[in-house]
Each structure stands twice: as structure tokens, then as C-alpha cells.
Amino acid sequence: MRLLRIVPDDTNFDFIRFRRISFPVSGALSILAIVLYFFHGLNFGIDFRGGTLMEVQAKSGVAELAQMRSTLAGLDLGDVQLQQFGSPADVLIRLAQQPGGDEAQQAAVRKVRAAFGDSVDYRRVEVVGPRVSGELLAMGTIGMFFAIVGILIYLWFRFEWQFALGAMIANMHDIVLTIGFMSVTQIDFDLTSIAALLTILGYSLNDTVVIYDRIREMLRRYKKMPMPELLNHSINSTLSRSVITHVTVSLALLALLVYGGQAIHSFTATMMFGVVLVGTYTSIFIASPILLYLGVGTTRRDAEEVSSGAGKPPASSPAKPPAKAKTKS
């Protein structure tokens, strides 16, 4: 039986040289994402902004959007958004946060229920008061912070600090680009988006760690191989795995994206972008080449030259320049 080979065995792409393209491109995209975040903003869902979300289904089978809109406009509820999704009977209604505290949000729901009466099925009603939304946002931000710190500490223990730093830069890159994506698409940014961001973080790191693991192994085995070559070799030899894994993850995500339904749509869409596109790209084109600049492997060469035959290499060594010169070539 012929087996599928997505990545040919003898692949030897010069990923490290490609950094001259990938770094500026990533830098530009990151800046663009940050600009978008500040000037275009995220479409904060009710979790973080407070307000009401109602998913209704017209019992008649077809929702009269215009009529519903005018009915709601007559209720004096401020900013009301209606959006059709899925079947023609399904409508999402979003009410902005009502002034007047928690009780006012409940009153708004009662008004809408009274206005539509029995003509629709209330499939989902979510009301988040002003205080809860503030807390959820704070929790989300703190959570992101602790996740990053936790992972960094772990990497720092398992690898050298340069790896942890490289992974962190890659991490930031992932999150910034994903937030840019959310800003462009104006996908609902809610609690599940935080979950998506954290999962992207986890998986992107998962990927990065696999390559770093290989780099570390190569560093131990090939004491004299120049860093760019060593990094290239590491990336190329794990490339097949990276691609295959991402195909399987995308297949699983694709199923969720198409059939998962409205409730997790923003979650799966974000994951698709973050894990499949950005995560893979980052670990190959950013996380690994950046190790060059962080000085990974320099002490290794020095150590060997200084301590040949002396058993254990000394921890610190002042002779840095030759290795560095070679790295930059």
C-alpha cells in the first residue's frame, strides 16, 4: 500500500534564511494588529460589556426581521441589534447594557418577552449585569497572564532561559495576531474567546516545544554544527510531524466549525485561525529563528573549545565573539 507523504523525506528548506522575510512580515502584521485593536477595536460580547443576548426562533418558520426590528425599536431599549443566522427562523437579538444597574437588565428582558409574546421560541437568553461583566474581563486578563507566566516558568525549568524567552516572543506574536484577526472579522469577543486564546497558547507552545526539544537534542549531539544549519535541520526533521498534526487538528476543528452551531462558532473560528494558521507559522518561522538572536548555542561552542578534554565544560565563558560572528553570516 502506498502511504500518504505530505512532506517528502528529503525536504530541506532554508527556514532560517527565510527569517529575513518572515520577521519583517510578522513585525508589520503585529503592528497592524495592535493598530486595529486600538482603532477598530474588538466586538466585545455581553460577557465583557454587559447586556442581553437572546436567541429566538420564529414559530411561523420565517422570522420577519423588519417587523421585529420596529417592534423592538418601540421599546426604548437603546442600542438593539438583530442578526439572522442558521435557518430563516433564527434570530439573535442583542441589547446593549441598560442604564440603571442589574434590575434594569431583567426589566429589558421582560419587555422583549412581552412584546414578542408567543410568536417566538426563546432558545437562549443571556443577561450579564454591569458588575459581572467587569469581573469576567478582569478574570480573563488575569488568567491569560498567569497562563503565560506558568508556561514560561515550566519552559525555564526544562530548557534554558533563551528558549523560554523565544517561546514568549512567539506567544505574544500568536496572541497579538489572533486579536488582530478578531478585530478584522469583528467576531464576538466573549469568555469562549478567552478559552480559545488560552488553547491557542497551549497548542502553539506544544508545537514550539516539539521543535525546541529537537534543537536541544541536536545541540547536545552536534557540538560543531553552525547554529543556522542546526536550526534548519531541527525544523526540517520535525516538519512532517508539524504538518500532519496540523492537518488532523484542522480536520477536527473543521467539523466543529461547520456543525458546532452558533454557541461555539466564535470559539472554533478563532481556534482555526490561531492554532492552524498562526501557531504553526510561529513555531517554524519565528520561535526557532529567534533563538539565533537570543544566543542559544554560543556557550556550547565556546565551552567545547575552552574545555576540550577537561570533562565538564565550565558554566560561564567570556569568549563569545567568534561564535556570534558565524551565527550572523
Binding site: 502511504l3 523525506d9 426563546y122 432558545r123 443571556e126 488560552l198 488553547t199 487538528v249 477536527a252 461555539i264
Partner: protein, 535 residues
């Protein structure tokens, strides 16, 4: 790497099988499972987003608790000083305390001593923390300040939440729904989760109503209309309103409470004998009955007000003394509202008002849809992955698929064992695990391919592939596990469901990668003695 002793192989299979078996109760209807022994009954609970239901987060009005605490303190100070025959002026609530001026300087030592007796150690005789409920201090000029400590207010809020939970439990149980869950959250919050409700308005009305019932005499000497218009309410009265035929009619009632709802021992909905209108009949305890009898004896011919949460329900005239300790409330009830009021009165009043600060309700229809979608997405995702793995690795892909299947079964087993809640994001977590679980196999197989290319013999390549890949698998999964753990601690509801399945998925992935896949390949190697690796 490829050698397994007999007992090791047996225990690996036993663990996998045992964990998988834990998932079995989920495949039987609840009725069947209920007849099984207790230890075998553990099963998955569907989250509210899948079975439909309401998630309602309530907050105790801490301002109310604080104000009430201060008012009580004010009353206590008044009583203590009066009992000690100490003259005072300017007794008032200031900030988080009560201040009073003692008229005669010679009295101030006595007043201080007496007032200090009001302060008690916090937490009673048991959990004594050295803190006290009130700080009594001499402010000079004969002014004494009694400041309620923050700890005392927090303690009072905690008690209020505790009592409220019991009362809400009673009320919600009366609705006859299955498995409502009522939990404290944080200091001043209560989370109520009730599955399977089409319309939560009734639930919200039942848990959001304070239901403070008081019987107070109506003040007939002053005109309520005037008081309502001028805003001048006699000092011993309260201006309340009664809903009568769609209008709100002002009623002046005396501040003094004759009997309160706390003295009720029973309340039942019923119908009036003469008018056949829905009513609520009630019964007082002995003390309440005695006070009610006395009050009605003294006030025959005068109306009294039945006040529920500062709203007059009705104000009937006392025709004759009510001595039996029971009576009935009528007043524009429907059958349901009479029923609900009876429920509220039986359960008792909430110690402080509760506000709904978050609500998430999913109708049963959407829940059903979500389950169907979740199933479809899972099957499709799994099928795609299985086919792809087989196309890529052939026989070894099949091994991987077996490992993934066992993996998913184990996830369900562990979730059942924990009685965990399965949410839609949770299903997403499982589907994602299917995608990532094969990663461990991919890592191993790719490594084997490399070793083969490096010129090793089949068995050596397989052995080296496993031993080198496993370290990587461990490292890469721990990072994801950290993210899942953080998500579990910060997340609520649905997000937490995702974190749980993701976290468990990582653990089972590690287990299958380190044991099961290895065992299958080891068996195959022993059986075929391969010269080449078919991947």
C-alpha cells in the same frame, strides 16, 4: 522500550478497560441506572447548555445588610442608654457607625461601660479571632462612637447568604424540578442552576422575592392621599401602596408590626368559601397566634394591612377577634399567584433582598439541537482523523486509531467517574483531543521514520522512535495542560467544561501514548518480527 512483562501488560489493559467501563452507565437510561448499586451509578451530567435550563447568579444586597445592621445598633444604643437612665442627644448613623452625645459629663463613664457590652467577640465563643463586632470609642466632648467593624458586616453578609440559600432551596424544591443546584459563590453571591425550564420568569420571581410579610394596623387618623401628595408622613407611620384594579392606592400604616411572617408555620393556597376567589390561608405559631389574637381583640372594627415586601396586599377590617391563630389573605390572586405566595410564605422571608446579576437560560429545544450538532461534529471529526491517519501510516495508523478510540472512551470514563458536567465547549474539547491525541502517535511514527532513514534496523528504529518521542510528548503536553488548568480556575460554566475535557484529554493522551500504543506495537513486533517498518 518494547519489552513488557506479563503483569505490566495486564495492568495496562486492566486500567484502560476499567476506566472505559466507567462510561457504561451513560449508555443506559436513568431508570435502569437507578436500580444499580450506588458505586456503579456515576455518570456524566449534561450541562445546562445541552439539556436546557437556567443559570442564575444572585447577589445579596450588602448595602441593605449594612444599613440594617446599623439601624439595629441604633435601636440597641437607645435601649441601653434608656435602661441605664443616661441622658443623650444626637443619636444618629454616621458612616459605618452610630454616634451619640451624652448630656452629662458625669454619665459618660457609665455610658461607655454599658455601650461596650454591646460589642461581642466575632464568631461567637468558638471561632474566636480576637476581633469584635463593634469598636466603641470616646470621641471627646461627650460624643461616643460605635463603629461596626468590616469583619462584622462581612460575617452578617455571610450569614444572610447562608440563610438565603436554605430559603431558596425550599422555594425551588416546591417547583418540582429535577436536581436544582444552589451554591454559594464568593462572599455575597448565590448561584442557582435549574435544569429543564422553558420559561424561567416564575423561577426568577420565586427566588428574587424577599417575601417579608407583616401585619400592621392601618392609621385611620390621617389621610393617606394628603400624605402622598405633600410627602409629609406622620412620624410613626409608613406610606405604602396597594394595587387595586390596576391603580396604586396610598395607604398609611403604623410602623409598629403586629405580627410578622416569621411567626407563620404554614401557608396553603385555597379558595374563599363565599366568593370562590383564590386565597392563601395561613397558621401562626403559638406566640404569633397569641399576639394576633390580642391585636385583633383590641382593634375590632379597624382595618389592618397585610404587607408583603412594602406593598399592601389587602387591608381588611377586623370584624371579630381572630383567636385560633389562623386566617386567610385575599387580594386579586390568580390560582398560580396564590400558590406562589403560599410557597414563599412557607419558605420564609429572605434576610436581605437578592438581585439577579447574571442569567443564562437555554431552552430545551436548543439543548437538543446542540447535542445533535455536537454528536455530528464529533463523529465527522473523528471519521476524518481516522481516515487521514490510516492513509498516512497504514497499519500503524490503525494502531493509532485504536489508541484514540480508547482515549476517547477513557475521557468519558473519567468524566463519569467525576460526575462531571458535559457542556458544548466540553464536546469541543473532546473533538480537539481527538485531533491532538493522534499527535503523540505522529511524533512517535515520524521519529521512527527518521530512525529508519538514519539506517537503523526496524526493531531498533521503533525502539528509538518511542524512547526519543516520549520525552517530547511529555514536554509539549504539559504546556497545554498548564493552559487548561488556568482555564479551569478562571472559567465558569461552559468554559470550565472545556477546560475539564481538555485537561482530562491530555492525561489520557499521555497514558495511551506511554502505554497502550507502545504495547500494541510491541505485540505486533513480537508477532511479525519485522525486517522493515511499514510506515
Amino acid at each position: 522500550m518494547l519489552y513488557f512483562s506479563r503483569w505490566k501488560a495486564t495492568s495496562i489493559l486492566a486500567v484502560a478497560l476499567l476506566v472505559c467501563l466507567c462510561a457504561v452507565p451513560n449508555f443506559f437510561p436513568d431508570k435502569v441506572v437507578d436500580t444499580w448499586p450506588k458505586w456503579a451509578q456515576r455518570h456524566l451530567v449534561l450541562g445546562l447548555d445541552l439539556q436546557g435550563g437556567s443559570h442564575i447568579l444572585l447577589e445579596v444586597d450588602s448595602n441593605f445588610v449594612r444599613t440594617e445592621k446599623l439601624r439595629n445598633l441604633q435601636d440597641d444604643v437607645r435601649r441601653v442608654l434608656r435602661d441605664a437612665k443616661v441622658g443623650y442627644t444626637g443619636l444618629a448613623i454616621r458612616g459605618d457607625g452610630v454616634e451619640v452625645r451624652i448630656r452629662e459629663g458625669s454619665d459618660s463613664t457609665l455610658a461607655l461601660t454599658k455601650l461596650r457590652e454591646l460589642s461581642q467577640p466575632l464568631g461567637g465563643i468558638l471561632g474566636n479571632t480576637g476581633q469584635r463586632t463593634i469598636d466603641v470609642s470616646d470621641q471627646g466632648n461627650g460624643t461616643i462612637r460605635l463603629a461596626v467593624t468590616q469583619a462584622a458586616i462581612t460575617e452578617r453578609i455571610r450569614q444572610s447568604v447562608e440563610q438565603s440559600i436554605q430559603i431558596i432551596e425550599k422555594r425551588v424544591n416546591e417547583l418540582g424540578t429535577v436536581e436544582p443546584s444552589i451554591q454559594r459563590q464568593g462572599v455575597d453571591r448565590i448561584l442557582v442552576q435549574v435544569p429543564g425550564l422553558q420559561d424561567p420568569s416564575r423561577l426568577k420571581a420565586l427566588i428574587g422575592t424577599t417575601a417579608k410579610l407583616d401585619f400592621q394596623m392601618v392609621d385611620m387618623n390621617n389621610n393617606p392621599q394628603d400624605a402622598a401628595q405633600s410627602g409629609r408622613v406622620p412620624p410613626d407611620d409608613l406610606l405604602l401602596y396597594e394595587g387595586r384594579g390596576g391603580q396604586r392606592v396610598p395607604v398609611l400604616v403604623e410602623k409598629r408590626v403586629m405580627v410578622s411572617g416569621a411567626d407563620l408555620i404554614d401557608a396553603q393556597p385555597g379558595f374563599d368559601n363565599r366568593t370562590s376567589e383564590p386565597i392563601v390561608s395561613f397558621r401562626f405559631n403559638t406566640a404569633g397566634a397569641r399576639r394576633f389574637a390580642q391585636a385583633t381583640q383590641e382593634n375590632v372594627g379597624r382595618p389592618f394591612a397585610i404587607v408583603l415586601d412594602n406593598e399592601v396586599i389587602s387591608a381588611p377590617v377586623i370584624r371579630e377577634p381572630i383567636l385560633g391563630g389562623s386566617g386567610q389573605i385575599s387580594g386579586n390572586f390568580t390560582v398560580q399567584s396564590a400558590n406562589d405566595l403560599a410557597i414563599l410564605l412557607r419558605a420564609g422571608a429572605l434576610p436581605a433582598p437578592l438581585t439577579i446579576i447574571e442569567e443564562r437560560t437555554v431552552g430545551p429545544g436548543l439543548g437538543q439541537d446542540s447535542i445533535a450538532r455536537g454528536k455530528l461534529a464529533s463523529y465527522l471529526g473523528a471519521a476524518l482523523v481516522v481516515v487521514f491517519m490510516f492513509a498516512t501510516y497504514g497499519l500503524f495508523g490503525l494502531f493509532a486509531n485504536i489508541a484514540v478510540a480508547v482515549n476517547v472512551a477513557m475521557i468519558f470514563g473519567i468524566l463519569s467517574l467525576l460526575n462531571a458536567t458535559l457542556t458544548l465547549p466540553g464536546i469541543a474539547g473532546i473533538v480537539l483531543t481527538v485531533g491532538i491525541a493522534v499527535d503523540s502517535n505522529v511524533l512517535i511514527y515520524e521519529r521512527i521514520r527518521e530512525e529508519v532513514r538514519a539506517g537503523r534496523s526496524a526493531i531498533l528504529a521503533i525502539d528509538a522512535g518511542f524512547s526519543r518521542a516520549l520525552a517530547t510528548i511529555l514536554d509539549s503536553n504539559i504546556t497545554t495542560f498548564i493552559a487548561a488548568a488556568v482555564l479551569f480556575f478562571i472559567g465558569t460554566g461552559a468554559v470550565r467544561g472545556f477546560a475539564v475535557t481538555l485537561g482530562i484529554g491530555i492525561l489520557t493522551t499521555l497514558f495511551t501514548a506511554f502505554t497502550l500504543t507502545r504495547l500494541i506495537v510491541a505485540w505486533w513486533v513480537r508477532w511479525r518480527r519485522p525486517q522493515t517498518v511499514p510506515i
